[in-house]
Amino acid sequence: MSSPTPYEVVPDPAEPDGPDRADGSAELDQRETFALLFNDPAVRTYTIAALAALAVVFLVLFENGSDLGALLVAAVGAAGVFLRWTTAPGFVLVLVTYFMVFPLGLPGSEFESRSEITDGRFRPPDLMLAAAVVVYAAAQFRLYGFVRQAVASEGSDRRPGDPPARRPPALVSANEFAVLLGLSAVAVVLGQLVWWAATGVEVVPGEDWPLRWAQDSRSQRQAFPRAFPGDDGRFRDAPAEPLPPRTSRFVLLVGMLFFTTVVARLVFGYWRLRAMGPAEGAMVVQDGGWLETKRERSRLEKWRAWGRKRAGGDEPGGTG
């Protein structure tokens, strides 16, 4: 075996075979996909994370008594990872929901418990399951970005024959996966907190401040079933009746969602206005001026067309 000349390009034996790590425009076939999933260090991390998360989901479901559901979820999730199904996280979520309600897989196997809502806060198996599902969904979507498409096409702006835009593994930073794990943990805790707030607070429309802790309300109702005298000796009304628990949860969840969205939109909307370029700002101002005067301008143009037609010219025509 002859030694390589200085001009020969010797492939690095550590480099895996396959597509360019820094280029995402090549379309991968199934074989190259497998090679990327298991050979590339950055992608392999996500592959292992997705499979591990599925294993945790499997275990929790199995522990819950739904062995069929555990198998189904694991199969659909693994197929999503290996066969590039972008809809797999949705299916996994729906399957987990179904089998958590119907552990045996058939309607009628559900078990109703009045204390499920109050007892279901910060249970370790639920925390593990939620974290596993979040990690699986994130890993699955990122894997899909590595092997198929990371940048969506913009509807009508898509040009035929456009190459896919995969996310090259070379762009994965060293701490990306750690950030994902941390973010997943925060998201799980935040979800628990939101649920705790939605079930621990009840809406009382008749009160000045229409929210109060559900525990206080219950204790008040138990202590003063009808009415009670106050310090001044006069009888006061019993505490106002709160909304039913389901309605209260609905109002609270929708309210939290609404106000969070409004605040976020306000913050980022204002930031966007601040970051707006001169041309975009000029367009906004111009469009505002047009919006205020469009009726008058449209009428003027109709008179212009009429005048031209009357003067013997042809009708200008238009879409307005």
Binding site: M100, S113, L190, R274, E280, M283, L291, T319
Partner: protein
């Protein structure tokens, strides 16, 4: 922007949240906890993306450098690869972890190396560079619009596309031939003639012997050939060659007819390439070269000169002429919109976004009163109210006649009771038409509508008709067309800095809109399909006016000429027919002054030359044009048949006849006519030029 993937994820998570929180919480709270965790993660990704989008993506800048031969150049040479280097800077303190940076390719360029697209991480305060090598096969103007940057989150939920506009135009000059390096290998002389010296047949005061002739009184004695005189026993005089520069003037046709065709492959581009070769060949022979470009409106030119700077100027003018585009007169506004709208969305995404350039529903509303029959609706409304009033009045005065009652009070009571009864019946009727199972608000609305129908039938029907007539504008093709046109009109108004005034003008006036949209397309060097024939079926781009302009330019050149001028006309004159008369007269005038005249006609690519074997013509359908001619996907092109073949043969025959007539007419006037086909190299033209000049040059 939320991508479809993000939308689906949000929808599924929202459904699971609703089911988990409202339907099944007593069985298991896990679904709602899962959904809340997923939504919290989604929200966190959204906040991160929005933060980067506002802080970093909005502040990206771009610079462009074009290098040829290793140094930055303001213009490039056709056929030679040049490097385009684009640098995208991120001055913010946030990095962009994943972006696709894509340099928008200039029209009529071939990519030689590099993809023009990179998948990058743009670090905070840093920059990324995109380098690719491009070749411009033909001369003209290259326009680089800018760089498109698409930023996405790692999960593919969000996407933001910005276009960093950095318009830059570069002239593509014809390849500069090296005076010594491109000489023919069979040259017969190793020395260049002195500058400006050019040997011609006409006798003059040069140093090379041209001929011997009999002595004429007045000939200087020093020109007598004494040996020849002694041999013949009579005085013989030597004649010497004339050493004067040959002035070559090129006339280039730039009318709309020669601008038609795909970018970089028009008749004008081919003629300009040949003209550039002729000009450089003449300059290599130390001749003076001038250039006159003409169209139907006038001519503009540069006087013959010999300096390097002048030659560069001539090449620049040729490149600029090559980039000219045909006018868009007669192109329907819809066609222009179909071309201009995608371009505008690509180049000006933030200005075409509905947040900045909106189309309100009220503007899409179809105004009923613009139609003559629309005035029936107000009439119906008024009539409806009148009928209601008259009905009540007749009920009051007619049914319950006052004379039938003993006193006024009884009559009043009876009339009021009757009216009340009538109203109650109407209410009952309306209530009977309202389904009881509907929700409360819907039921109230429906009841009010039924009451309106009961009390004011014509007015209510008229108003319902008015609503449905106007609401038709919110749907369908008109909505799309009007929205696109308004957005383009607003963009044009902004680019022209004209304020909101022209927006409605462009929406309402097809002519003004078409002119502006065509100018927009031409500014961005994008061609739109132009109709070749007018309403009467005549060819719209015959351009007969150019004959008079060309004749005037020729006559002016003759008037300014000294001697030994060579006029080379690059023009599509074949179809002018009787309109050619001014050119013929000008050619005669030029020949009368002993100037040489060469007319070069560009031969259309789709017409076989006259000397080519007349095989069955083939035609390619549009979808076949992209097929390879070789390889497994190649399909044999089907021969034309039937009527199409007849028409094509007839048109070909007609063009051949026209060309023969042109050659005959101009030949009679003393001009030489030659055609340049698509594949003819410039060398062929130069050889013919050499033959025309009597092989008197050193080549």
């Amino acid at each position: 922007m939320l991508t479809p993937r993000g939308t689906w994820f949000l929808v599924v998570s929202g459904i699971v949240l609703a089911v988990g929180a409202l339907v099944v919480p007593l069985y298991s709270v896990v679904p709602v906890l899962l959904a809340l965790a997923l939504l919290a993660w989604f929200a966190a990704e959204w906040v991160a993306f929005q933060t980067r989008s506002c802080a970093a993506v909005s502040r990206l800048t771009v610079t462009r450098t074009v290098l040829q031969g290793g140094r930055e150049v303001p213009m490039v040479w056709a056929g030679l690869a040049f490097e385009v280097r684009v640098t995208v800077r991120n001055p913010s303190t946030f990095d962009i972890p994943f972006a696709v940076v894509e340099d928008r390719p200039a029209v009529a360029t071939d990519r030689a190396r590099g993809a023009g697209r990179r998948f990058v991480r743009i670090p905070a305060g840093g920059e990324v560079e995109l380098t690719h090598t491009v070749t411009a096969p033909s001369l003209g103007v290259l326009r680089f619009e800018g760089v498109q940057v698409r930023v996405a989150d790692p999960n593919g939920f969000f996407l933001r596309r910005v276009f960093l506009r950095d318009p830059a135009e570069y002239l593509v000059l014809p390849p500069l031939t090296d005076d010594e390096g491109r000489q023919r290998a069979t040259k017969r002389f190793n020395t260049l003639p002195p500058p400006g010296a050019h040997r011609l047949r006409l006798p003059g005061s040069g140093s090379e012997l041209l001929d011997l002739r009999d002595y004429r009184p007045g000939d200087p004695p020093k020109t007598i050939a004494w040996k020849a005189s002694a041999r013949r026993d009579r005085l013989i005089t030597k004649e010497f060659e004339n050493d004067v520069p040959v002035r070559t003037v090129l006339f280039l046709d730039t009318t709309d007819g020669v601008r038609l065709g795909p970018p970089g492959n028009t008749l004008l581009t081919r003629m300009a390439a040949v003209a550039a070769g002729v000009a450089q060949s003449a300059a290599a022979n130390r001749d003076l070269v001038g250039l006159t470009t003409f169209d139907e409106r006038g001519a503009a030119g540069a006087s013959p000169a010999r300096t390097k700077l002048h030659m560069i100027g001539v090449l620049r003018r040729l490149a600029e002429a090559s980039a000219l585009q045909p006018g868009a007169d007669g192109v329907p506004a819809e066609v222009l919109t179909a071309r201009a709208y995608p371009l505008a969305r690509e180049l000006y995404p933030e200005l075409m976004d509905k947040r900045a350039n909106a189309m309100p529903l009220s503007r899409l509303w179809l105004p009923l009163l613009d139609r003559r029959f629309g005035w029936l609706v107000p009439v119906m409304v008024i009539v409806g109210v009148l009928l209601f009033y008259l009905g009540l009045r007749s009920l009051y005065l007619g049914v319950f006649r006052p004379e039938a009652f003993a006193d006024r009070g009884a009559w009043d009571t009876q009339a009021l009771l009757g009216a009340r009864q009538w109203l109650l019946r109407a209410l009952n009727f309306a209530a009977s038409l309202t389904p009881a199972s509907w929700p409360f608000l819907l039921k109230v609305g429906w009841l009010l509508l039924m009451l309106a129908v009961t009390f004011f039938p014509p007015a209510t029907l008229g108003l319902i008709f008015w609503f449905f007539f106007g609401a038709r504008g919110w749907f369908g093709e008109r909505r799309r067309e009007l929205t696109e046109r308004k957005q383009l009109a607003a963009l044009f108004a902004l680019l022209d800095r004209a304020g909101p005034d022209p927006i409605e003008r462009y929406v309402a006036d097809d002519r003004a809109y078409a002119a502006r949209a065509a100018a927009f397309l031409q500014q961005h060097l994008l061609r739109c399909p132009v109709p070749l024939y007018d309403e009467t079926g005549r060819y719209r781009y015959r351009c007969p006016g150019k004959a008079a302009v060309l004749a005037g330019a020729l006559v002016r050149a003759v008037g300014r000429a000294r001697d030994n001028e060579l006029y080379v006309v690059f023009a599509d004159l074949a179809e002018l027919g009787p309109d050619l008369a001014p050119v013929v007269r000008a050619c005669r005038a030029a020949r009368a002054r002993h100037h040489h005249l060469l007319v070069i006609v560009p031969w259309p690519a789709d017409v076989p030359p006259p000397d080519e074997a007349d095989g069955p013509p083939v035609v390619a359908t549009p979808d076949e044009d992209d097929r390879p001619t070789r390889g497994p996907r190649a399909r044999p092109r089907r021969p034309e048949g039937g009527l199409a073949r007849l028409v094509r043969e007839s048109l070909t025959r007609q063009y051949h006849e026209a060309f023969r007539a042109l050659r005959r007419e101009l030949g009679r006037a003393g001009a030489t006519v030659m055609r340049v086909s698509d594949g003819d190299p410039v060398r062929v033209v130069l050889d013919r030029l050499d033959r025309l000049r009597g092989l008197r040059t050193r080549r």
